[in-house]
């Protein structure tokens, strides 16, 4: 009987064959934390182990509130810098022009590699499945324990196989696919599961598109989400690998799945997730004309160079009708957007560009909404109050739909402006 991706990776790490339902204890290859490394460091100190198990297996990337907007955040950042110094942690991305959103940096810098087990104290850690890694979000206590022991327990998850065929029509992208899937199977449709993306359309997709898919695995409850470690992945990681322990691992043809779904890209249309849940799917026709007050092009879901290009194509030579905030996913993306003239396009169109980071995605700063306001956003969550005010409304959409809507001041169909 064949094995799923999760069974193979966790079995390899455990050192013996495992199947869904087994419980294994494994050593993670990398442990990622962002601004919450500060409280984790406090918990770590309570355990009574003086040194972390392997300093070079920890990666700290400040992104949630940078540069620090409040004294509380400033203190958190200071404590992280002190901990980095004290523990000799080599992989630290501070508030500099080498940083960016943690999940983007993990992929850009060669930490996200096929077959690795990566844990992160952030629920969107599942993003690195785009590079064939088994990556998942965990809580703070658990992260402190992993720093101390180098171990973490997992129940080997059942797997959901999603096969994707066909080609996107004009104005439709990976974000529309994942919002459709989540709308279909709901916020707990993949609870505890490993989601595997298969099929010719996935092979066609760029790594940026695959990151968008895997990033939102958690929004259907998944433990992890993963795409095949194909030639595109191997090409992307060549020369930047932070460890040689990686291995291209993929599910067997005859693996056993708890559930299987098939999607045809040609059947998809531009769409949004309406307030206040990610599974609240609506096709663009159902929401077209809804008044918005702000547009946000950013976050770990959709702020890569490919996303910025799609939005810029729509905004070029035009002017936005509502305040539009653009936050590239990293400084590397920022610089590339600068070189390609995209930032100029955004500036000419009236957008506000801020430094790479999470920005207003979880309501920290740089674009909080007022009561009664609606925002169309390329991010991954539209929970009530997510962008700082509980009487505001968030619509999730693709970069193209966000750009088209920014021009009109209402939710708009990107196909009409392309």
């Amino acid at each position: 009987m064949g094995m799923t991706f999760a069974e193979k990776v966790l079995g390899k790490a455990a050192g013996y064959a495992v199947k869904a339902g087994d419980v294994v204890t494994v050593e993670p290859h990398f442990c990622m934390s962002h601004d919450n490394a500060a409280p984790i460091a406090k918990t770590f100190k309570k355990i009574g182990v003086p040194k972390v198990w392997k300093p070079d297996h920890l990666v700290f990337i400040l992104d949630h509130a940078i540069p620090a907007p409040t004294d509380e955040h400033a203190v958190n950042h200071k404590e992280i810098r002190e901990f980095v110094e004290e523990q000799g942690i080599p992989h630290f991305f501070d508030v500099t022009s080498k940083g960016g959103v943690c999940h983007q940096k993990m992929c850009e810098e060669g930490f996200a590699l096929p077959g690795l087990i990566i844990i992160g104290s952030d629920s969107h850690t599942c993003t690195y499945g785009a590079y064939g890694a088994f990556s998942t979000g965990i809580g703070r206590s658990e992260m402190a324990a992993a720093w101390a022991t180098g171990k973490i327990w997992f129940r080997v998850p059942e797997s959901l196989k999603i096969t994707v065929k066909g080609k996107f029509n004009k104005g439709v992208s990976a974000k529309d696919l994942i919002l459709k899937i989540i709308g279909d199977i709901k916020a707990d449709g993949a609870d505890y599961m490993s989601v595997e993306f298969h099929g010719p359309a996935i092979s066609e997709m760029s790594l940026a598109e695959r990151m968008t898919l895997c990033n939102m695995g958690i929004e259907m409850g998944a433990k992890n989400a993963v795409c095949p470690p194909d030639e595109k992945v191997l090409e992307a990681i060549r020369g930047i690998e932070k460890t040689n322990e990686w291995e291209a691992i993929w599910a067997d043809e005859d693996a056993v799945y708890a559930k299987e779904l098939t999607y045809d890209l040609g059947e998809l249309v531009p769409c949004v997730a309406k307030p206040h849940t990610v599974d609240n799917y609506a096709s663009i026709d159902e929401v077209k004309g809804t008044k918005i007050h702000q547009a946000f092009l950013g976050s770990c879901t959709n702020a890569r160079i490919e996303d910025l290009r799609l939005a810029a194509e729509i905004l070029k030579g035009k002017e936005v009708a509502v305040r539009t905030i653009v936050i590239p996913a990293s400084w590397r993306v920022y610089r590339q957007a600068l070189d390609e003239g995209l930032l100029e396009t955004f500036l000419d169109a009236g957008c506000v560009i801020t430094n790479p980071g999470c920005g207003p995605c979880m309501g920290n700063h740089e674009g909080i909404l007022a009561p009664g306001e609606a925002c169309i956003s390329t991010a991954n969550r539209n929970f009530k109050g997510r962008m700082g005010n509980k009487d505001s409304f968030i619509y999730l959409a693709s970069p193209m739909t966000v750009a088209a809507s920014a021009l009109k001041g209402e939710i708009a169909d990107p196909r009409e402006v392309l």
Partner: protein, 175 residues
């Protein structure tokens, strides 16, 4: 065992209660659980006064996918600090569940609870009796009964120690 039988009032929630509804991201920089407690469910429509009015021993009763969203442990700390002895839900989001176990905070998976809530078989203010050892749940107000599944053996050890950190300390002391 009498100590496993708890009585309290039900506070009833829907399916897909996300981490921002339980504990809003506005207060993420907070590190003191006592202060976290006062923000519990502040963003949940109709339950804004939960933190003030819930009494230690009251129960949080919810449908499917409780705790969906962020990995923040505040969403566990705040309820634990308020003295909510256990969360009863049809199912839990994976990270919330792990955070609960790792903090020695009991949760029960209660089959049929989502529909029961929708059908009004358990309502806000109902008096509940919960046996956290056997998983038997009685709604004393209307006589309805439910069954919850307690944690597995693996997790019992962590729970018995009071959480993952305590468990690790105990393991280290044994060596």
């Amino acid at each position: 065992m009498e100590q496993n039988v708890l009585r309290g009032k039900a506070w009833v929630f829907t399916d897909d209660v996300d981490t921002d509804l339980i504990y809003h991201n506005k207060y993420l920089a907070e590190t003191d659980p006592k202060k976290m407690a006062q923000y519990s469910f502040e963003y949940y429509p109709g339950k804004e006064k939960f933190a003030k009015e819930a009494k230690p021993g009251d129960f949080v009763v919810a449908g499917r996918n409780f705790g969906t969203g962020s990995s923040r442990e505040h969403a566990v700390y705040c309820l634990k600090e308020l003295g909510i002895p256990v969360v009863l839900a049809e199912s839990f989001a994976r990270i919330y569940y792990r955070n609960a176990i790792n903090n020695g905070y009991p949760v029960l998976f209660v089959k049929g609870l989502s529909d029961a809530i929708k059908e009004g078989k358990v309502k806000d203010g109902d008096e509940l009796e919960v046996n956290i050892a056997t998983g038997e749940i009685k709604d004393l107000t209307n006589g309805n009964t439910f069954h919850g599944d307690a944690v597995t053996d693996l997790e019992k050890d962590i729970m018995a120690s009071g959480g993952l950190i305590e468990y690790l300390k105990a393991q280290a002391a044994k060596k």
